[in-house]
């Protein structure tokens, strides 16, 4: 079994009567890229600050490489934190920023100089030692902040939405770079973000956090295809949602009557009693446009096209069922096969039973 670098057990944090982090437990294995994904204000930063020792726990236990961190002050913990705003020291140049932590450890001058230049090389900033912080671009600052922590060879590197301040293009680029960098150095990363695409692209494991609690910890693939709670289903990726009632249940496949009158057959993952109220979710790409009539076992229904939302490879149709007002998103593959579809056309939509994601209310 792999070594556990970070172990968080039943950690709880309150601000007054408000519980910011509620009984959270998880383990991160050595060398993993672990993300915590959640909406703004769900307690991500608070959790990270407790791991770094900048905030005290109300209860619970944090272990790093098997060592209990209780009572160990932030400057003695083998973790480093990349702040949401990076917190580079503006009064020092790049070299001094990176050397700061090494100097605190009392390392020799020549050793420090070597390490600084080696780590700058790592993050593709070779020779940047004497640049001032305000001379750097957003992406370069990012990498200096990472280098400043990595040079200390922490057991765990904590990153608090480090890409938040960058513009979209750079963010896309840094996502890939960060993932590559982590693979290269092999340090355990704990990365927090509210951007699901960041989490899905980079991580080995993702924990989805909501209101101070973890809803699901899983691989990105599983989070997407097997969400375990309605929150995860809606927060990770786009989803169409219906609410309805179980009319029939055979094993793990059930027949659901939605509130707007459709009858669908869907995978349930667990047997549910007839009459139970459920939420049904369906990915836009699970819906097929004008499916071949020969395909068996499809839930088919007619919809009216409201508009086309063109977004390159991610284009959608915004539609509503013929007799209902519910808005649905349908993936529109850019293969020119569907170019004939116009606004206000009526088309047939079909989806297969295993694509349905269903939760009891």
């Amino acid at each position: 079994m792999m070594q556990i670098d970070l172990s968080v057990q039943h950690v709880l944090k309150r601000f007054g009567d408000f519980t910011a982090v509620n009984d959270i437990s998880f383990d991160v294995e050595s060398g993993r890229f672990f993300s915590i994904l959640g909406p703004s204000g769900c307690g991500k930063t608070t959790l990270l600050r407790m791991i770094a020792g900048l905030a005290e726990l109300d209860s619970g236990r944090i272990e790093i490489r098997g060592k209990d961190m209780a009572g160990i002050s932030p400057n003695r913990r083998p973790v480093n934190l990349i702040f949401q705003n990076l917190a580079l020291f503006p009064m020092m140049d790049v070299g001094a920023n990176i050397a700061f932590g090494l100097q605190r450890r009392g390392e020799s001058k020549s050793g420090i100089r070597e390490k600084v230049s080696a780590i700058l090389d790592r993050v593709d900033l070779a020779g940047f030692e004497s640049k001032r912080i305000d001379q750097l671009s957003g992406g370069q600052k990012q990498r200096v902040a990472i280098a400043r922590c990595l040079v200390l060879e922490p057991a765990v590197l904590l990153l608090d939405e480090p890409l938040g301040a960058l513009d979209l293009k750079l963010r896309e680029q840094m996502k890939v770079e960060l993932k590559k960098l982590q693979a290269k150095v092999g340090t355990t990363f704990v990365y927090i973000t509210h951007d699901q695409s960041e989490a899905l692209v980079m991580s080995d494991y993702v924990a989805v956090m909501n209101h101070g609690e973890f809803e699901q910890i899983d691989t990105p693939q599983n989070l997407y295809s097997r969400p375990q709670t309605p929150f995860v289903a809606q927060f990770v990726g786009d989803n169409n949602a219906w609410s309805g009632t179980i009319r029939n249940c055979e094993g793990t496949v059930g027949e659901i009557e939605t509130d707007d009158g459709f009858h669908f057959r869907s995978e349930l993952h667990q047997p549910l009693p007839v009459g139970a109220a459920v939420d049904l979710f369906l990915r836009p790409e699970s819906m097929l446009i004008q499916p071949d009539p020969s395909l068996p076992d499809l839930n088919r229904f007619e919809v009216v096209v409201r508009s086309t939302l063109f977004d390159g490879a991610n284009s959608r149709l915004l539609v509503h069922p013929v007799n209902a007002e519910t808005e649905l998103l349908v993936a529109l593959p850019q293969t020119h096969q569907y170019d004939y579809i116009q606004k206000d056309d009526t088309i047939e939509i079909g989806w297969a039973t295993p694509s349905g994601i269903c939760f009891p209310k």
């Binding site: 770094a52 900048l54 002050s73 932030p74 400057n75 003695r76 973790v79 480093n80 934190l81 702040f83 949401q84 705003n85 917190a87 580079l88 020291f89 503006p90 009064m91 020092m92 700061f100 932590g101 605190r104 450890r105 400043r148 922590c149 200390l152």
Partner: protein, 284 residues
């Protein structure tokens, strides 16, 4: 009438003339003082009797230049020493004050803050007499109870330092506070996260951030102390500071030596001012 607008000739010209007159008003006394420092005359007045530097370098009894005038040189030295200690004390305590009012929470903070700025509203003369009296009270008390004769409580060098420090520290506190307000505290946390102790954080991060404000307010503190008259007037002992010494000479009639000293002061302070300005410009 503002530069972005078409303006009427008359008002524009009038304003310009006014500003020119204002600058003449501002500089006339200083220029005249400087020029008369080089007049070959026994009195600091016209007519012009020729150029001389004897009021700087002369060593004859009737033309004792400033470089040989031991009394004035002594008082300049006293003023420099006073200013040095006042600056040191004010920077130390003022920086503590800035940390206290910007980063700490404690009951009665608001009231304490008003107490801190009150020296700005107390006339310097009153600071002088109240400190003189309180130190005398303490002196009498020590004498009567313990038979101790504490030199600090008598008018003299250290009492002048304390008197000036009592209001210059407020200035330093305000200037340093203004800069500390702009400090991003996550830098402190980042430093701690990188392994710095609380002391190292303050030393390497916060104080370095405050450095421009500390240097700037230190320069101002030094000048304010060097030029202080009102508070020192009541606290000087046998060692007169330069302003007190000059005052006594000016009051009882004057020679161009005073112009010579003034010339040196004007040149010195202007250089210091320009230097300070140059550095604060470079920082931006």
């Amino acid at each position: 009438m503002i530069r972005t607008m078409p303006r009427s000739r008359g008002t524009a010209l009038g304003l310009k003339l006014y500003v020119i007159l204002y600058f003449i008003f501002l500089f006339a006394p200083l220029l005249v003082t400087c020029i008369l420092a080089f007049n070959d005359s026994q009195f600091p007045s016209l007519p012009w009797k020729g150029f001389t530097v004897e009021w700087f370098t002369g060593d004859k009894p009737d033309r004792l230049g400033i470089f040989h005038d031991q009394i004035n040189i002594d008082s300049i030295w006293v003023s420099i020493r006073v200013a040095f200690f006042v600056t040191l004390l004010s920077l130390g305590v003022g920086t503590c004050g800035a940390f206290l009012f910007e980063q700490e929470q404690f009951p009665g903070k608001q009231a304490f803050y008003f107490l801190m700025i009150s020296p700005l509203v107390i006339p310097g003369v009153i600071l002088g007499i109240s400190i003189l009296m309180f130190s005398t009270t303490l002196g009498v008390f020590f004498e009567n109870h313990w038979g101790l004769d504490v030199a600090l409580f008598r008018p003299g060098f250290w009492l002048v330092v304390l008197g000036q420090f009592s209001f210059i520290a407020t200035l330093v506190t305000l200037v340093v506070s203004a800069r500390l307000k702009k400090f991003d505290r996550s830098l402190e946390e980042a430093a701690m996260n990188l392994g710095a102790s609380r002391f190292e954080v303050i030393w390497h991060i916060t104080l370095r951030f405050l450095k421009p404000a500390i240097i700037g307010s230190g320069a101002v503190a030094f000048l304010m102390s060097f030029e202080n008259f009102n508070t020192s007037l009541f606290l000087v002992g046998s060692e007169a500071t330069l302003p007190i010494n000059l005052y006594l000479q000016v009051r009882d009639g004057s020679t161009p030596v005073i112009n010579a000293i003034s010339f040196l002061l004007i040149v010195g302070t202007s250089m210091l001012a320009l230097l300070n300005l140059y550095f604060s410009k470079k920082k931006d």
